[in-house]
């Protein structure tokens, strides 16, 4: 079988990219405006909340604990050198609450759910189930996309809080037995140095990440072309695109928050 490689002009690529951004923006906007246009499918939203929230809990617990423990382990060697091991709680709490908690949770849920949404909706596209839904008088963006966006945004917020808490416990599990940090000293430094800016950043990010995870997964699912092979392609692209978007948004949100609240 001869392998045919087709060269695509940079102009075509740029045009495709602009069209994709436009379609993604429209889909995202529609997923939000649907909350104010009945019917709102609460049953579907609860089902998705269970799938995304409860379903992701084991992986979030595992990563939260291990990231907190690793953070403490790595920080301890540096802090010990300068005699500042007592500050380990502060380092773990700031690292987990502002950055690693939301980021790791976002990436984990993206890997699990963006792919799931893309493959589920992609399969529905190639088997004409989406067309059937439209033909039966139902708006697929209301029935399929908005519940996923609502559920992912809502559940990622709480999953991140759980990951943060478990990260702090993981840090304590390393700091206390391995480096002899006093229990009260650890937990006091954990909350004492957290300021409004840190908590606000840590709780704003999961809301944005949840929105990205669902909209990217749904966008790639709904734009699936080319049968089962296309479903596979959409699934992979959804995970990559959601992860990259999370990393980019994370950087700019952090920068913006520092610009608003200052670095101190």
């Amino acid at each position: 079988m001869a392998l045919e490689l087709e060269l695509i002009s940079p102009f075509e690529l740029a045009k495709d990219f602009v069209v994709a951004v436009q379609e993604y923006t429209l889909l995202s906007a529609q997923s939000l405006t649907n909350f104010f246009r009945p019917p709102v499918y609460m049953g579907d939203m609860l089902q998705q909340a269970d799938l995304i929230g409860v379903g992701s809990l084991p992986i979030v617990i595992l990563t939260g604990l291990s990231v907190g423990a690793l953070l403490a382990l790595n920080a301890a060697s540096t802090l010990q050198r300068f005699g500042g091991i007592a500050l380990i709680g502060r380092l773990v709490s700031q690292g987990m609450v502002t950055e690693l908690g939301p980021l790791i949770t976002g990436l984990m849920v993206a890997g699990r759910n963006s792919s799931g949404m893309a493959s589920e909706l992609g399969s529905m596209i190639v088997t004409e189930q989406i067309d059937a839904m439209r033909a039966l008088g139902t708006d697929p963006t209301k029935k399929l996309i908005t519940p996923r966006v609502g559920a992912a945004t809502f559940m990622l917020f709480f999953l991140t809080i759980i990951a943060d808490l478990l990260g702090l416990i993981g840090g304590y599990a390393v700091a206390h037995p391995l480096f002899g940090v006093d229990t009260q000293q650890y937990w006091t430094s954990v909350w004492q140095f957290l300021v409004f800016r840190d908590v606000f950043t840590g709780l704003l990010k999961p809301v944005l990440f949840g929105f990205i995870i669902a909209t990217v997964g749904c966008y790639y699912g709904m734009s699936t072309k080319g049968g089962t092979q296309g479903v596979g392609r959409s699934t992979t692209q959804a995970v990559v695109a959601a992860s990259v978007m999370i990393l980019i948004v994370d950087f700019f949100v952090t920068k913006l928050i520092f610009a608003i609240f200052g670095y101190s």
């Binding site: 004409e128 067309d131 059937a132 008088g137």
Partner: protein, 281 residues
């Protein structure tokens, strides 16, 4: 199964005059990227009539159905469904119109995550009807397609023919005025195909529903043109030769993105076009 002999009596009055059209295409064209799929297509489907649409693979038959229900929009031309111009309708307006039109997709397109009764009841549940009313109507329509026993089953547990019949049940539960069938017998064995054809004839003759039926199988359309449903025996029966044209049945043939034939069984049987003669032989 060989195709039955085409009826060649004179055209019938059963094919209703164009004034009462259920679907009307006027110079409709559509292209995907640079490929023209349909070009200047014009035809009408009379109320109560069933029109079989033929054409080789890729000739735009399924596209024609998707245009008729507003799932695709034409590049040019006008489409009227039940007297309403749908070409410039918004999606919410189309949702309203689609309540009066049913469609059976090529691969059934049943929702995998829902049970048979949920699939069939989908539109009724969306409309918020009481549960008892929904159950009564679902059972009634499943009885119509002779699949009441599948009520609690999932689509994955059904055979291809059963899935197609459930799809028909889902399409007819709201008693639509127009039905669109996309290759309803495609990929099925002759016995199952005959069961599906019988259901379509039953829907045509008992409920007088207008229908556009895309098919590759000439014999199915010929069977429909030469049979009618007998309610007394609950069976499809062959009509005597002289009455073939009493059936509200017509044919449309697509070739190279254009309509090359639109007429009744008599006109099809007496066509002098070489391609058509070869196609129906």
């Amino acid at each position: 199964m060989s195709a039955p002999t085409l009826p060649s009596e004179s055209p019938s009055a059963a094919v209703v005059a164009p004034s009462g059209l259920a679907i009307e295409f006027d110079k409709v064209s559509i292209a995907f990227d640079d490929k023209v799929v349909l070009e200047n297509i014009s035809f009408g489907l009379a109320r109560g009539e069933t029109k079989a649409v033929f054409g080789v693979a890729g000739s735009g038959k399924s596209t024609l159905l998707k245009l008729a229900i507003g799932l695709l929009r034409p590049d040019s031309g006008s489409i009227k469904v039940l007297g309403e111009e749908i070409t410039h309708m918004s999606e919410p307006e189309l949702f309203e119109l689609r309540r009066r039109v049913g469609i059976v997709f090529q691969e059934s397109a049943l929702f995998d995550s829902l049970k048979v009764y949920e699939n069939v009841a989908y539109r009724l549940m969306e409309e918020g009807l009481p549960a008892e009313e929904i159950e009564r109507r679902v059972r009634e329509v499943l009885r119509f397609v002779e699949l009441e026993r599948t009520y609690d089953m999932r689509p994955s547990e059904l055979s291809g023919g059963m899935r197609r019949r459930v799809a028909i049940a889902r399409a007819i539960i709201t008693e639509p005025e127009v039905l669109l069938y996309d290759s309803p017998t495609g990929g099925l064995d002759p016995v199952t195909s005959n069961t599906i054809v019988e259901l379509i004839v039953k829907q045509r003759d008992v409920y007088k529903t207008s229908a556009l039926m895309v098919t590759h199988r000439l014999q199915d359309a010929f069977t429909m043109a030469t049979h009618q449903f007998d309610q007394a025996t609950n069976k499809m029966v062959a009509l005597p030769k002289g009455q073939h044209c009493d059936v509200p049945m017509s044919f449309l043939i697509l070739r190279d993105a254009k309509v090359i034939f639109d007429g009744d069984a008599h006109q099809l049987a007496t066509s002098r076009d070489d391609y058509i003669r070869e196609y129906i032989s």
